[in-house]
């Protein structure tokens, strides 16, 4: 009986092996069609318009490869603290297969050895071309110390967004000429901008209270105010560090830039602006209560969306007065803790291909590739992208320092203290210089 059972069991095993071997002969067609069938790619991203556009495109990648892309969308403030513990996990043990890296984190993540070098994958790839990216983007969220760790995803170069209907209003132009004895023109420096913003802060309906502010501003600590102030500093010729990482912030220039920033905050911005984050400052503009806003260049399509804005087709974008605003951007990266680096790389190849990047730009995305910026369909829909390409090229990035989040924290604190009146601008800049020196990579 036992013997018979063993024979039957043996036959069953052999039969099932033959069957599975036969089945395998049919498999390659499926796996070559959908190489990542059954694989889930976990991605962490920020809740911004470009993430929405990627989500809208996802189904194509999933159909092509069979992979499921699971995007976890987080508020910016929560991303760093959630990413770091995952990045410190051992190889293949992290929760995220693919991440997007803000330019503030590039040096920190790379010095810690958390990101995978992509040079070999790029060299082997038939799809990825690095020379199509704007050099400023590649320098910021592409390479680090000679190796490529990221592919630029989207830019957030800051620019001056302003109400063209107010700017071209003959009554406003007349009033400006009567007050200053010169024609109303776009400001070419920060002092001119602050003067214009103060002029534009007006009571337009005659009820005795100001209803349009010259500048919508974001004084909330740490990154909203730090990012905004850097536009003032850079455009007035100041810098925190040079390319070698030495502190080069000039006390005089820093104090002057901070004084103009505080002047605008107190005399041209809404009274609540010292506590405003991005959402409140954006709402002020979208409600039609501000003449201008130094913000991300890609806010123009958002402000032209009737569902989100009451100033549709009234906004224009130009470079930050003085010409050198803050450049920001995000890059796609594969952490060393990624459990599915090959699937993650396939996703990067797809999402950064010309067709997909162009489609994203047409949805309102912020390009990083020159061929997308110069594409005729993109320019037909967004003629201002030729200006934006120049803005992205001319803007200055946040210093490539591994303790950049702490530098932002210090910057945000001293600016906020100066606005609150608990610190003079001289003391604020002196503390900033000291802390930049303490925190720099040595």
């Amino acid at each position: 009986m036992k013997k018979n059972l063993s024979i039957i069991l043996g036959l069953v095993v052999i039969f099932s092996m033959v069957l599975s071997a036969c089945a395998k002969t049919d498999q390659p067609a499926t796996t070559s069609d959908k190489p990542f069938q059954g694989v889930t790619i976990n991605v962490m991203m920020e809740g911004v318009p470009d993430t929405d556009y990627v989500q809208a495109q996802l189904s194509k990648f999933e159909e092509e490869t069979g992979a499921k892309v699971n995007i976890e969308v987080l508020n910016y403030a929560l991303m760093h603290e959630k990413l770091v513990p995952q990045l410190t996990a051992g190889a293949g043990k992290g929760s995220y297969d693919l991440i997007v890296v803000d330019n503030y984190w590039v040096a920190e993540f790379n010095r810690a050895g958390w990101l995978m070098a992509l040079d070999d994958k790029i060299a082997a790839s038939k799809k990825v071309k690095m020379d199509v990216y704007l050099p400023s983007m590649l320098e910021m969220v592409g390479t680090y110390q000679g190796k490529t760790y990221m592919l630029p995803f989207y830019n957030y170069a800051m620019a001056l967004v302003y109400r063209n209907d107010i700017f071209t209003d003959p009554a406003v132009q007349e009033a400006y000429k009567a007050k200053y004895g010169k024609d109303l023109a776009l400001p070419t420096s920060i002092p001119e901008y602050v003067e214009l913003a103060k002029f534009m802060t007006r009571d337009t309906n005659g009820d005795g209270t100001v209803d349009v502010y010259g500048a919508s501003m974001q004084g909330l600590r740490p990154d909203p105010t730090a990012m905004e102030f850097l536009n003032y500093l850079y455009s007035m010729g100041g810098l925190l560090y040079d390319v070698e990482g030495n502190v080069v912030l000039d006390q005089k220039v820093g104090v002057e830039a901070l004084n103009y920033y505080v002047d605008a905050m107190k005399n041209a911005a809404p009274p609540g602006a010292p506590s405003y984050g991005f959402d409140e400052a954006f709402a002020t503009v979208a409600q039609g209560n501000a003449f201008s806003y130094i913000t991300y260049n890609w806010m123009v399509p958002v402000l032209n969306d009737p569902e989100q804005s009451q100033v549709v087709d009234k906004m224009k974008v130009t470079a930050v007065p003085g010409g050198a605003g803050l450049l920001g951007g995000w890059g796609w990266a594969i952490p060393n803790s990624s459990a599915n680096p090959d699937a993650a790389w396939a996703f990067i190849e797809w999402v950064e291909s010309f067709e997909i990047a162009k489609e994203r730009a047409l949805l309102g995305g912020a390009p990083t590739r020159s061929d997308v910026f110069q594409d005729k369909d993109v320019l037909a829909k967004y003629p201002h992208y030729s200006d934006v390409e120049k803005i992205v090229g001319d803007s200055i990035m946040f210093p490539m320092q591994s303790r950049a989040p702490q530098i932002v924290e210090v910057l945000g604190r001293v600016i906020s203290e100066t606005i609150a009146g608990s610190m003079t601008s001289e003391a604020a800049i002196q503390e900033l210089i000291t802390e930049c020196e303490n925190l720099r990579d040595k």
Partner: protein
């Protein structure tokens, strides 16, 4: 465990069995509590910046260093002021409302109680986000209502003093429900006979309150104070959502500062030292209050 009334009331044979049965849970809790505490203590006397590799060399100077940190001292001052303000206000308001809800002549008491408890059911992050919208100087409903009756419309979170005051108000709105619940439970358990005797003796409402309710409620009030004080000393969520410690450093609390040293600076050593100091302060303050409570009870 040995002093527990429940255990002492058991015969010695049952007492041993009860102790054996409870011991796994007891050991489990101590492992869960003690291990993180000891690990935090170990980390707090070492150099360890997460982005610069693993745990570094022994460094006891983390403790003197953080105690000299002017930002930690500022946040400690803010925390003490905030804790004192919210605890006093919440006990006063909570006791007043608990007395009203205890009054059997008031109709629909349970409906009022339910409404008053709603804030307690909400997470602090949600409370912060809701209030941030309500307090928006131009687009918020609070300033809109004030404008309707011709009152000035403050910039609630934009000036240092007002922002601190705003955090106190929002915290009182959120946390008073807890005090109401605890004190109402205390009031309900008071014996009716004493009040009846006092009434026969001709005591008026004020005398009953002052000479009966308050002394009998003192232990309950102290327990509520201890619990609320401990949680107020750890205030973090509201500050994070409403002000991020600003304007300037006017609303930075100690827990929020420790969070930044940990998650922004990734300085695990110093942030653990700060957290340990906070723990010791909370334990000491709790011991003092418990001693006061024991004296009151005696």
């Amino acid at each position: 465990m040995a002093n527990n009334i429940f255990f002492n009331s058991l015969p010695s044979h049952d007492r041993k069995t009860a102790k054996r049965l409870v011991s796994p849970a007891f050991i489990g809790i101590w492992v869960v509590v003690l291990f993180p505490l000891l690990y935090a203590l170990y980390v707090s006397v070492h150099d360890w910046i997460l982005s610069q590799g693993g745990i570094g060399p022994f460094n006891f100077s983390n403790y003197p260093d953080v105690l000299k940190d002017p930002l930690l001292i500022n946040s400690a001052k803010n925390t003490v002021l905030l804790t004192a303000s919210v605890v006093v206000l919440e006990i006063c308001v909570g006791f007043g409302l608990a007395l009203l809800l205890h009054n059997k002549q008031i109709k629909l008491r349970n409906v009022y109680l339910f409404i008053l408890l709603i804030p307690m059911l909400m997470p602090p992050i949600t409370v912060g986000l809701i209030w941030r919208l309500l307090l928006h100087p131009d687009l918020g409903i609070i300033n809109y209502m004030l404008s309707l009756v011709g009152l000035p419309q403050p910039t609630w979170l934009a000036s240092p003093v007002l922002a601190f005051f705003t955090i106190i108000i929002v915290d009182v709105w959120h946390e008073t429900a807890f005090i109401i619940l605890v004190l109402l439970a205390g009031l309900t358990s008071l014996p009716d006979e004493i009040f009846e005797v006092a009434m026969i003796d001709g005591a008026n409402a004020w005398q009953k309150f002052l000479y009966i309710t308050v002394p009998l409620m003192t232990p309950t009030i102290l327990v509520a104070t201890i619990i609320r004080m401990i949680s107020a000393l750890k205030t973090y969520d509201l500050v994070y959502i409403l002000t991020r410690g600003g304007p300037g450093i006017s609303t930075e609390t100690i827990s929020y500062y420790i969070y930044k040293v940990f998650f922004v600076a990734l300085d695990i050593g110093k942030s653990s030292a700060m957290a340990f100091i906070l723990l010791i302060v909370i334990i000491l303050m709790t011991l003092v209050l418990m001693r006061v409570m024991n004296r009151v009870e005696q």
